[in-house]
C-alpha cells in the first residue's frame, strides 16, 4: 500500500533507509525540524540545518521516488535559550519560500517551562503572520498530559489560529480526545517503548475514529523504527479492517492535511511513471 509518513527525521537516517521506505510503499515524507541530540550554539547552525532540510534531503529522497517536505522552527528543547530562539525565529522567513516547506514545526513544549511557552507563542505568531500551517510536538512521558493541555490553552487564546491547519503530534490514549475535540488534527507516533505501539495506535483508531488522525514513525537518531507505519498497516489488516480505512489513515488523511499548504504537490501514485513524484 502507498503511504505517507508525516513525521520522519531523515537527516538522522541512512540512504539505505530511504530505499527501504520506498520498497515498503512510502511515497512522501514530511520532516519537522527537531533537536539534533545536542544544543546548537549559533543561528548559523540552524541556517545550515535548514539548508539540509530544504535542499539536501529532497534530493536524497528523490533518488528513491519519495517526495520530501519539511517544517522549520527551533525545537522546544533548545527553546529554553530564548535569545537564540529569537535569532532563529527572525531567520526562518529566509526559508519559507523554499519549495518543500509546509509550515512551522515541530514547535511545542518539552519540560513545560515558561521559556518554552514564550518561544512556542512566538512561533505561533510567526506562523499566523506568514499564513503557515503548524506542526506541534507534545512532551514525552510524564510531561505529556500537562504539556498537551498547556499547548491547547495557548492555541485557544490565539484568535488568528485556523485549527484545521494545525496538527498536534504524539497523542496517546490520554490526550487524543482533547486534541480532536478542540478541532485540531492529531498525530500518533509509533515508537517501540516511549509512545504508541502499532497495536495501541489501532486501538485508538477503533475508539476515536479515523477523522483528522494520522500516524507516523518519527524515526530519528534514537530508538525508533522508520518503517513503523507499514507495521500499523499489517496490524489493521490482521484485525480485519477495510483497506479503505487503512488508506485513509496512512495516505488520505496526511494528504488532506498537507494539501492545505500550496507547497504540497504529490502525484497520484497510480499515475506515476518510474520515480516521478
Amino acid at each position: 500500500m502507498y503511504y505517507i509518513d508525516p513525521h520522519l527525521h531523515m537527516v538522522s537516517r541512512t540512504t539505505d533507509d530511504y530505499e527501504t521506505l520506498a520498497r515498503m510503499g512510502c511515497v512522501a515524507i514530511s520532516e519537522p525540524a527537531f533537536w539534533a541530540g545536542y544544543d546548537r550554539g549559533t543561528v548559523d547552525g540552524f541556517r545550515d540545518y535548514f539548508h539540509q532540510l530544504t535542499d539536501v534531503e529532497p534530493k536524497r529522497a528523490a533518488q528513491f521516488g519519495i517526495k520530501h517536505f519539511t517544517w522549520l522552527c527551533i525545537n522546544a528543547k533548545e527553546a529554553e535559550n530564548v535569545s537564540l530562539s529569537r535569532e532563529v525565529l527572525a531567520m526562518i522567513p529566509e526559508f519559507l519560500d523554499c519549495d518543500n516547506v509546509l509550515g512551522i514545526g515541530e514547535i511545542g513544549l518539552n519540560k513545560n517551562t515558561p521559556n518554552e511557552a514564550t518561544v512556542f507563542q512566538e512561533h505561533v505568531q510567526l506562523a499566523v503572520d506568514h499564513h503557515q500551517q503548524i506542526l506541534i510536538h507534545t512532551p514525552h512521558l510524564a510531561d505529556k498530559y500537562q504539556g498537551t493541555r498547556m499547548i491547547l490553552d495557548m492555541l485557544g487564546d490565539h484568535s488568528g489560529i485556523d485549527r484545521s491547519r494545525v496538527l498536534v503530534d504524539h497523542v496517546e490514549e490520554h490526550t487524543v480526545k482533547a486534541v480532536l475535540d478542540a478541532g485540531f488534527w492529531a498525530g500518533m507516533t509509533l515508537y517501540p517503548v516511549t509512545k504508541c505501539t502499532p497495536a495501541r495506535a489501532v486501538d485508538i483508531i477503533e475508539m476515536v475514529g479515523a477523522e483528522r488522525l494520522c500516524v507516523n514513525s518519527a524515526g530519528d537518531w534514537g530508538p525508533s523504527k522508520p518503517t513503523a507505519v507499514p507495521d500499523l498497516v499489517m496490524e489493521m489488516r490482521r484485525r480485519g479492517h477495510a483497506e479503505s480505512l487503512i488508506k485513509k489513515i496512512v495516505y488520505d488523511n496526511p494528504r488532506e492535511f498537507f494539501s492545505q499548504s500550496k507547497k504540497f504537490e504529490l502525484r497520484n501514485p497510480a499515475d506515476r511513471v518510474g520515480f516521478d513524484t
Binding site: N112, P114, A117, T118, Q121, V124, Q125, V128, L141, A142, D143, K144, Y145, Q146, R149, M150, D153, M154, D157, H158, S159, G160, E172, E173, H174, R200, D203, R238, R239, G240
Partner: protein, 84 residues
C-alpha cells in the same frame, strides 16, 4: 473480530507480556538494595491494580497515573505576554 477471536489471537502474546512484567519485578527483588519505598514502585503497583479492574479505559487510566498533574491556572505563574 469478536472477543473470542481477539483472545485466540493475543493469548500467548499477553501471557508473554505478563511473564515479562513478573520476571522484571523478580529481578528487581533479587538485586541488592531495597527499592520498595521508591515512588516508581508504588506507581507500578497502582498500574497493576488498574489492569485488574474491568474499567474499559485501563490504558488511559494508566497513562494518567504516570502523568504530571495539569493546573488550569498555570498561566498565572508564567507571566506570558498576551496573544492576539
Amino acid at each position: 473480530m469478536d472477543s473470542k477471536q481477539i483472545l485466540d489471537r493475543e493469548f500467548l502474546e499477553i501471557r508473554s507480556r505478563i511473564l515479562d512484567v513478573a520476571s522484571s519485578l523478580d529481578r528487581i527483588q533479587r538485586a541488592d538494595s531495597d527499592v520498595s519505598n521508591d515512588p516508581r514502585m508504588q506507581k507500578l503497583t497502582e498500574a497493576l491494580q488498574i489492569v485488574l479492574t474491568d474499567d474499559p479505559h485501563r490504558a488511559e487510566k494508566i497513562q494518567m497515573l504516570f502523568s504530571r498533574q495539569y493546573d488550569e491556572h498555570w498561566k498565572d505563574q508564567f507571566s506570558l505576554p498576551s496573544t492576539n
